[in-house]
Symmetry: C2
Subunit: 185 residues, 2 copies
């Protein structure tokens, strides 16, 4: 698939078919994810593939009630729990180097976009769940020290044709030239 | 360009030719960036294109001395300052909804990966600079309240053919099945 098509046509998918995501599809996704850039190539990302039904239910129970992904997550064959090692990205000797704390969150954003684009190319839909109780999820998956959960990504085949995405701001509203006083476009 | 090629062949580029990045190239990049996903489609990203020579020098002076991007940033025709509106992404009524603070950092990671991939497709190299004094940069660009600088991205045409990227961990080292005890691959 063309990069442009992947970027423009990727959607957040919240209704999956019952068909499983295969090991081979997941392998292809993570073989792409690993080429994402990260702070000093620290690659602090770690992913748990969750296929155990009881575990899927427990993890979904950590989402905030109003999260629009609850239903699809419960029905999904596979969740991906995106975690990061802490105290490494943006740090030297465990000490944060800049005022942007937890740089691994930025790195995970990069890696998750790679993940979502590659999944889309393979005909798989994803939705990024951030509105959740991260600590509760960490307990459920038994996260080792020095790691944290950033997001959960239910993944599957979309049960319906992908629609137009929600509207986006035009470039004139978010790109400036030399200062915030002057638009670029 | 194929998505797979963009993901695998994109590199951090730290030596640019003197040729300018065109307005049309930048427009194509941000026309792609705007389709990135973000928390509840909040799109908190804002980008300053910096072409003013004095401003490029001042911004580069905010990088940490050891930052390997200092030289290329000084020589670049264009810097992109990636900013985010604060108190919106991950928030409701200005209040953070989860224990992951500053969710806009995650959203900016997503958007910056879209930017770097699209730039690569257009034959442009990028490097993400995070090791810097963010507050000093904010003063220099006169950032309005409610926004912060996340990273600076020098952009240009690579002066040398792109090499193999630095090694990455194999998927067996960062993907697990159901728990951290069991590898997926």
């Amino acid at each position: 698939m063309e990069l442009q098509e992947a970027i423009l046509k990727r959607r957040s998918v919240r209704k999956f078919t019952e068909e499983n995501v295969t090991d081979e599809e997941l392998r292809q996704i993570f073989e792409a994810v690993r080429w994402s850039p990260s702070w000093a190539n620290t690659q602090t990302w770690e992913f748990i593939i969750v296929r155990d039904r009881a575990l899927i239910e427990k993890i979904t129970a950590t989402y905030s009630e109003k999260n629009p992904a609850v239903k699809c997550s419960l029905a999904a064959s596979t969740l991906i729990v995106a975690c990061a090692k802490t105290g490494i990205s943006g740090c030297y000797g465990g000490k944060e180097l800049t005022s942007i704390k937890n740089w691994e969150i930025f790195d995970l954003g990069i890696a998750v976009q790679t993940l979502c684009l590659k999944a889309h190319e393979l005909g798989l839909g994803t939705v990024i769940v951030g509105l959740m109780n991260h600590e509760a999820c960490e307990k459920i998956i038994g996260i080792p020290e020095g790691r944290k959960v950033i997001a959960v990504i239910p993944i599957g085949r979309s049960a319906t044709p992908l629609k137009e995405g929600p509207a986006r701001k035009p470039v004139s509203e978010f790109v400036y030239l030399n200062s915030f006083d002057k638009g670029m476009f």
